[in-house]
Symmetry: C2
Subunit: 159 residues, 2 copies
């Protein structure tokens, strides 16, 4: 299947919240996101990696910057309930997404995206992918640079 | 925007590899996935959360079970190069995905998915979401149960 990267999108209006050190047992994700949903907070990205020793892990999610205080209030309350280590906030982020078809069959596309960003000294804070999209969270200040270098790399300026 | 969950999919043919303790600086993701791509290994999901103190983080990704030995060989080589703590493999996983439209605007859908799984004692090992899909990695043995209870919860049996 031919890989076709069709676009690069960015979102500068999100903030990232991480609950660090949540127990890795059933019910935790449900507890957190039910509380968030009950405040009518829109969640864009949710990223959770494995717990290394089967005990604790981190859950990160992004919300609109306008919902930060409500989301932090909920998160801190849940974190306390779960005896999580801490709640971390980063407002200075951008979500950079590269969209395409056939991206799954070519891990070379993800590698190319990561390479372009690294060549421009842009650190990748979070990664989340699907068959049609690779999303990276980077520092807000690199938004325009990231979009431009990816656009150029995938020749999206030429129609 | 009305949320419509249109389907539940599962993939039992993936295995998960995690490189635990990689440096969080530009070039790391590129190095790993370029090496993986050079072996023509198809990567489905990539999940990376933030580094808590800005130093080290974990990168997880899934590959077809048929590519495990090649992928582990590459991963161990890269991990050694990066002085990462360890490389972890889990073959007994299933990716459960709930697909829909309008899911982003309703964090209640993700919460419901997590709730259904937890009510059935299914631990969620990894989470990765996009606007149209919530993907959870669970233990392989729960595949059929997870699909059935999600199907029922979202009334996908009735046409
Ligand atoms: C960490 C969190 O995802 C937990 N494993 C749960 O199932 O809710
Ligand atoms: C950890 C890894 O993603 C690293 N931050 C990079 O940019 O390559």
């Amino acid at each position: 299947e031919q890989v076709v990267v069709s676009g690069v999108a960015y979102d500068k209006k999100q903030a990232r919240i991480t609950i660090h050190g949540v127990p890795d047992r059933p019910g935790i994700a449900a507890l957190l996101f039910t509380a968030i949903a009950n405040e009518n907070i829109v969640v864009d990205m949710i990223v959770q990696n494995i717990s290394i020793e089967g005990t604790i892990t981190d859950i990160s999610f992004t919300v609109p910057k306008t919902d930060i205080s409500k989301a932090m209030e909920v998160s801190k309350k849940i974190a306390k309930e779960l005896k999580a280590a801490e709640v971390l906030l980063n407002e200075d982020i951008a979500k950079i997404s590269v969209v395409g078809v056939g991206m799954r069959t070519h891990s070379g596309v993800a590698a190319k995206i990561f390479k372009i960003l690294s060549e421009n000294n842009i650190n990748i804070m979070m990664i989340s992918t699907s068959e049609i999209k690779v999303s990276c969270i980077v520092d807000l200040k690199y938004t325009e640079l990231a979009v431009r270098v990816l656009h150029d790399a995938f020749e999206l300026n030429k129609i």
